[in-house]
């Protein structure tokens, strides 16, 4: 078994590498997520395991520069304000390569979080490994993860709602629908939706 475990990092690397070649892999609903350790805009590192009290997290891959991410920014803040008190705080992760998009640099992230008073951590996925592991392809791309013992399991992947342009014209709030189910202890009836977004700006290999 020990020997097998020592193979694990190599296996993980292989999976990630084949993910590069074979296109998007990433988490499906029901998958256990690997924890991460990413730098927050306040300089401290954040992991899912840090907060022992949470029932789960709303993990959003987002950025400063994408018009769709900007369109959803205040709605992401509203999600945190609604669900953090119920045990599901938002964790925002910026996966964009700052060399490709200077507007998504750590300094710019700090400025954005400060000016918009983000009430949640805004983490830089500098190696882009977290976005790769999740299978995130665009910003915004949202995952709800739910605690199962000491681990977290993916409960919902997808869109925030059905109208990116105008929050007032939204008919279905996909995440909130899923959250209602999850908070009632049920699996989300609709656990996977899709949305338009900006491609994640991957590092040029």
């Amino acid at each position: 078994m020990k020997k097998l475990l020592s193979f694990f990092p190599a296996l993980l690397a292989l999976v990630l590498l084949t993910g590069f070649v074979l296109g998007p892999a990433g988490y499906q609903v029901g998958d256990k997520v690997a924890d991460f350790k990413l730098r927050n805009v306040d300089g401290k590192t954040v992991s899912l395991a840090d907060n022992k009290a949470v029932k789960g997290y709303i993990v959003v891959f987002t950025c400063n520069t994408c018009p769709y991410a900007q369109a959803y920014e205040s709605r992401i803040i509203a999600l945190h304000q609604k669900y953090a008190p119920q045990g599901y705080p938002v964790v925002a992760i910026n996966p964009n390569d700052a060399a490709t998009v200077p507007g998504d640099s750590y300094a710019e992230m700090k400025a954005r979080a400060a000016s918009k008073k983000y009430p949640f951590p805004y983490l830089q996925d500098e190696t882009q490994l977290v976005a790769r592991t999740y299978g995130a392809t665009r910003t915004p791309h949202l995952y709800v993860v739910t605690r199962q013992g000491s681990e977290f399991v993916v409960s919902y992947i997808g869109a925030i709602d059905d109208n990116s342009e105008d929050a007032k014209l939204v008919k279905t709030k996909y995440v909130e629908q899923a959250m209602t189910d999850l908070l009632a202890g049920k699996p989300a009836a609709t656990n996977s939706t899709k949305a338009i977004g900006c491609t994640i700006k991957w590092k040029k290999s």
Partner: protein, 160 residues
């Protein structure tokens, strides 16, 4: 001077019969009908938006196909995913300024979740996204990425 030339070029393009670029606003049902044509033309359908930097960068590749694939049955359709409210403010001026010759339509559907899967189950919703298909050859390929010129040529050649 530069803006005068641009204006002149735009005016000329506008005057050329059949080249005058319109942007038709369509619903997904219209697009779906077009995406199911069964003939021997190879269609290259690119989903883009004026706000999407990699898409804008890539557009000339699709525009060039009318020259590089001249005489072959290749048709380009540029599907803008800009909001319909931006049609006159952004999309039309953009199309005019760039002198786009390929057909441009604007897909007016507020909820992408209702159609992304129907275009292609593999499409996660990131753009640029390109669909190449040939009904007669029963061949179809999709790409959720930005092409290099060589990649696009190679992919289209597989259909010809």
């Amino acid at each position: 001077m530069k803006s005068f030339l641009l204006l002149l070029a735009a005016a000329l393009l506008w005057a050329l019969p059949g080249r005058a670029q319109q942007v038709t606003v369509i619903k997904f049902a219209d697009l779906q009908r077009r995406l199911s044509r069964q003939n021997d033309t190879t269609y290259v359908v690119n989903f883009w938006a004026t706000w999407c930097a990699p898409c804008v960068k890539e557009l000339p590749l699709f525009e060039q196909l009318s020259t590089t694939q001249a005489g072959k049955k290749v048709k380009v359709l540029l599907v803008s995913l800009d909001y319909a409210s931006q049609l006159d403010k952004k999309v039309k001026p953009f199309v005019l300024k760039r002198g786009l010759k390929s057909e441009v339509v604007l897909l007016n559907e507020p909820d992408p979740n209702s159609y992304l899967e129907k275009v292609d189950p593999k499409w996660s919703g990131a753009i640029p996204f390109t669909l190449i298909w040939n009904g007669k050859k029963n061949r179809r390929a999709t790409f959720e990425k930005e092409f290099t010129p060589a990649e696009l040529t190679a992919e289209i050649n597989k259909f010809l």
